[in-house]
Symmetry: C2
Subunit: 198 residues, 2 copies
């Protein structure tokens, strides 16, 4: 997605060979117009898939998800990383290990909002090792719902999450795929190839 | 805001005399169309106020904020409740006590995204004791930015947050104001009055 790649080039900050900071438009400050365009792109890619629900995880997944939900006209559910006092019963839960934070968290979704009739689009901001997406997929399975696909804003193509998910037969649509962050520079994987471009 | 009040009446669950659960459209599952309408309403109420930034707090403030940001065409910043590994330096922080969770949290915003030229609209999902809004206002002041107003989706009019903020001279716009949750029923404060209506 050109606008997204352009924004990453202009505003992304490479903190190390594996960490890209996109705090100016996605993870802390949010660019609502860009989120709208991201929602439009996900919506185009999944519009034939009879999606009934979008499932994401707090907090950075919410903005792209809600813009996609607006355009597909379906509800968005965000999994919680921490148990809420008013959300205690009948939870679907999965364990997610964060390599960045080096800790394991239970994520949870109320079973009221997912059932066997649902076709779920999972959306997240980043795909690196795939742990969050795998946890969300696990929750969809617990609800006996179907996973229609996974929409990722930024995939780190040099980490193995995308491969793990695709090997499970899941359809993963990433709007920007990063080839490498070596030497402080972002290079992208060209759409439909494994070729690197700057 | 009629659509919001209607949705609260239909889907809100009164858990006690002080707790209203709106997990089906705002706090866990999100209704994107309703969020769009909420964004339109905030945008109408603040469109003359030369807003440059919206400030909210993760997670439930993000959806209404990003829809408002889309329509006012300004960036949204969400304060974090937990420190991120890639967000460590130059933080503006405030302490927020949550009566619901009975714990105190530091909330933080990078000082890169707020400065003395900003006119900030603070948005949050709920206003009860006002602690989150006061913390966000504190952060705006630390950045020497101006608070243009506070937009609240649901105000619990029977708790003192609204009064605290208005006594500080802050403009608070709440889209639904709850008069009471007594006897398991939601009654609202009629716009522009202190009168209760069902």
């Amino acid at each position: 997605m050109d606008l997204l790649i352009q924004t990453i080039k202009e505003e992304g900050i490479v903190l190390s060979d594996s960490v890209l900071k996109v705090d100016s438009f996605l993870n802390h400050q949010i660019n609502p117009r860009l989120m709208y365009e991201i929602g439009k792109e996900f919506s185009n890619r999944f519009k034939e898939d009879r999606i009934t629900k979008i499932l994401t995880i707090e907090s950075s997944g919410i903005a792209p998800s809600v813009m996609t939900g607006l355009q597909l006209d379906v509800p968005v559910i965000f999994a919680r990383k921490k148990k809420s006092l008013t959300l205690v019963n009948d939870l679907l839960t999965a364990k997610v290990y964060s390599f960045t934070k080096q800790e394991s968290n239970d994520i949870s979704v109320s079973n009221k909002y997912l059932n066997e009739k649902d076709r779920v689009l999972i959306i997240d901001d980043f795909l690196a090792n795939g742990q969050a997406a795998i946890g969300l997929a696990e929750i969809v399975k617990q609800a006996n719902a179907e996973i229609a696909g996974i929409g990722i804003v930024i995939e780190k193509g040099f980490q193995n999450g995308g491969q793990l998910l695709r090997e499970q037969g899941l359809r993963v649509e990433s709007l920007a795929r990063i080839h490498s962050l070596d030497n402080g520079e972002v290079s992208f994987i060209k759409d439909g190839t494994k070729e690197a471009v700057r």
